[in-house]
Symmetry: none
Subunit: 156 residues, 2 copies
Amino acid sequence: MTSFLSTFVNKVDRKGRVSVPAQFRTALSNETFQGVIVYPSLSETAIDGFGRSALEDLNRRRMDKTLEDGDFERALLGGDMVIDTIMAMAHELPFDGEGRIVLPATLAEPAGITDRTTFVGRGTRFQIWAPDAFEQHQQAAVTALRQRLSTQGNNS
Amino acid sequence: MTSFLSTFVNKVDRKGRVSVPAQFRTALSNETFQGVIVYPSLSETAIDGFGRSALEDLNRRRMDKTLEDGDFERALLGGDMVIDTIMAMAHELPFDGEGRIVLPATLAEPAGITDRTTFVGRGTRFQIWAPDAFEQHQQAAVTALRQRLSTQGNNS
DNA sequence: TGACAGACCATAATATCCCATGTAAACCCA
DNA sequence: TGGGTTTACATGGGATATTATGGTCTGTCA
């Protein structure tokens, strides 16, 4: 199981290239496709990412399920809002020889990413944030958690 | 598993030729038929597209299912309105030497496609839209999804 | 013979590859 | 343990290959 941990801040050069943290790359080293799949997060101002095998798994299962159900019309017509919408926004970003990816402007801009960016491990997936935005977000999250734990007593 | 991702806007020249995005072409590179199968979407003002092997897979599984059910008459007579109708409207569009296809007017016109067009990855299949129409459609879809996520409190 | 589709060729813009370098962390040996 | 050395990583820039796109030519079919 690939898992992504901790956070790294890297530079975005004028060509839009960013080094993917070496730790993340080794987590993906057994994938056939050397690179990542990314799409805009629907709930946060950030980019979500993971390896391609996860993506293919998803598509395969969806197709199998649809066909098993004998729902051939649906296979032709589509109809899964969530997945269809995300696929349209997703990008396949291969590593270059130095382990970098190029962030498409259509993803970087809405996330507020300009010349630096923060890679955030989220276990099975990871995120790419504008450094300031992430700092704030994380700060708020920690505070909220502390609050909850102290008022509610301890809840795993 | 071939999967189509991202969206690309390409020009339609005066002969009706459009470059199929290189990423889509590489996704189809191991197909025997170098080209795509397209037909008008029944649910949206767009064109749906597949690689040929996907379509053959679909038909084969449909046949299997029908025969398993012992529905031999149906196998011979047809009777599945939707699929039969789609097959009739489908076109086989081969790539030219530069990876382009020619959009038949009977498909382009009802989709509102004139001089530019948007290729949309939908995972197992893809679509071809009029750029403005797609922009609007996608915008609405994203908004709806965000809404749903925030009200349901369902995160990622 | 004239319209048309397909093959072929040209080119500008862009993305990808490849090599160089600074820097910081890991290592090693006295 | 500390100083020096080496390695790995992130980053930058120039060269090179792809891609999208437009045009031209040619054979074919009416």
